[in-house]
């Protein structure tokens, strides 16, 4: 990418942010952006297989469908340690989140990977999902 292309991209981004900035109320928040906190409770002995699926496939499939990964963590203490994955996604809007998840579930790679990873049983017992908005005093993410 040349400097000219970079600068063109920047000015386009500035115009977009000017337009959306009119609706933004919070310094840390981008207009309609939503964050999704997801907590996966793995079945006994399945956390490593779940982490491998995310590492090798799921994260890339998210990216393909406009789901931005903020970060992925594992708890360090009992009772969640060794059986839990916690992560946060950023979606352009709540409507986009719904559309993104639909596209994700229909993605041929996901269909193949999820089936292959669960030949010996399901990896995840339960998923908790909480949609959230950045507060006006939050750092941008």
């Amino acid at each position: 990418m040349t400097r000219r292309e970079v600068l063109q991209g920047m000015s386009a981004a500035m115009m977009l942010s000017t337009a959306s900035g009119l609706e933004a109320q919070a310094s840390g928040a981008k207009a309609d952006v939503v964050y999704e906190l997801r907590v996966y409770h793995a079945n006994e002995g399945k956390l490593d297989a779940l982490l491998a699926r995310f590492r090798d496939h799921t994260v890339e499939i998210f990216k393909r469908h406009g789901m931005k990964s903020v970060a992925y963590w594992t708890p360090t203490d009992e009772p969640l340690k060794g059986r839990t994955l916690i992560y946060i996604l950023e979606h352009p809007s709540r409507a986009a989140a719904t559309a993104n998840w639909r596209a994700f579930h229909d993605d041929p790679e996901w269909v193949k990977v999820s089936t292959a990873s669960e030949v010996n049983g399901k990896l995840v017992e339960k998923v908790d999902s909480t949609y959230m908005t950045l507060t006006d005093f939050s750092p941008a993410i």
Binding site: V39, V70, A71, T76, D77
Partner: protein, 141 residues
């Protein structure tokens, strides 16, 4: 089980030992770093004063004591909406987290702020704490 119970369950992993961080499997080059997910369930009508306390002073006290605010959010949906603050701190290590919180609770600005903000009653009914480390495939945050 409603979402509130689920989130309370997430927070069941309380900090029990300052040394447990030594055995945590960290990601990348900064193996000591830990993240702390905190979920505050407020008393009826107390979310706004809680947000005000964070906005005006509490987050600044965190930063002064070496606790880095990654993000501060409020849930969008019932039953957590309007009564919950979710935030995440990054600490240099588990031992540093323990030390920072010990300093925080004795910090003169905090002691004064807490007393003033709770003149009409406590703001937070219950808080859930989960210490975590980044997975090896996570973006940095």
């Amino acid at each position: 089980m409603n979402r509130r119970n689920v989130l309370q369950g997430i927070g069941a992993a309380m900090m029990l030992s300052a040394t447990s961080g030594l055995t945590a499997q960290g990601a990348g080059d900064d193996t000591g770093v830990v993240y702390e997910l905190r979920i505050y369930h407020t008393f009826e009508g107390k979310l706004e004063p809680l947000l005000k306390r964070f906005r005006e002073q509490e987050t600044k006290i965190f930063e002064r004591l070496g606790m880095h605010g990654v993000g501060y959010w409020t849930p969008d949906d019932e039953p957590l909406k309007g009564r919950t603050l979710v935030y995440m701190l990054r600490h240099k290590s588990r031992a540093a987290a323990k030390e920072s919180w010990a300093k925080f609770s004795k910090d003169p600005e905090w002691v004064k702020l807490k007393a003033e903000s709770e003149a009409n009653g406590a703001l937070v009914e219950k808080h859930d704490i989960t210490f975590m480390t980044l997975t090896d495939f996570s973006p940095k945050v």
